[in-house]
């Protein structure tokens, strides 16, 4: 199922609604890159609140989105990683060291806005 991407001012919000197949994740990556270019976005929030599993493929792909958008001058913040999912990611050996994360959508937006002011 495609992930809806909403434009909010200079930012994009991709809100994942249900479990993602690998194909969905790759589609999300392509859609985000297209939209960042179209809207000249400065930041992207990917909301993963509804994901009950983030395995190595999803984690790697989200990190890839963050790296790619950064090269286009837009910061990505991953928000809403559930406590159990965070635990599983650490056990699995995934780290998001170079990716910005925030507790929820509100915190993520605040982080992007602070970055805009600081820029």
């Amino acid at each position: 199922m495609a992930v809806p991407i909403l434009k909010q001012g200079p930012f994009l919000i991709a809100s994942i609604q249900s479990a993602l197949t690998d194909t969905d994740v790759l589609q999300l990556r392509d859609d985000v890159m297209t939209q960042v270019t179209r809207h000249r976005s400065r930041g992207i929030i990917v909301d993963v609140t509804s994901l009950d599993v983030m395995d190595s493929f999803v984690s790697r792909s989200l990190r890839g989105i963050a790296m790619m958008t950064r090269l286009r001058g837009a910061e990505t913040v991953i928000v809403g990683i559930q406590p159990e999912v965070a635990f599983a990611m650490v056990q699995l050996g995934m780290s998001f060291e170079d990716v910005q994360t925030a507790l929820d959508l509100e915190e993520g937006l605040a982080l992007l806005q602070a970055g805009e002011l600081g820029a």
Partner: protein, 140 residues
Amino acid sequence: MAPDAAERIAIESDGDVVTARQRARTLAVELEMPSTDQTLLATAISEIARNITTYANGGRGEVLIDIIRDGRGRQGVRVVARDDGPGIDDLEQALTDGYTTGGGLGLGLPGARRLVDEFDIQTGPGEGTVVTLIKWAQRG
């Protein structure tokens, strides 16, 4: 260890990987497994089922899921992922963090092993691969 009839999920596309982990979670919920353990199990299944779509012949195989009981009456969810793909040449390497031949992060097998209580793998060149995982519910 008399198993209930195992549920079989054919793994032929990436959507089947999602189905497999959702079915396993349903069984884990039936056993009242703690939510964190359900997530660890579902994540482990995702890793081993993806190995089928990535590495096996034509990306086909199957996942069998059932509830098992040990001698002490403890119950758990058992997952068997098998394919008749090329098998794994060097199992020790494949179980090492960061080793990959599939372009991933090399966390699949070693990561899955860390997420479950019991882990077994039978494989060899040309012999296909059978991975068995067990996550015990914290009871019994």
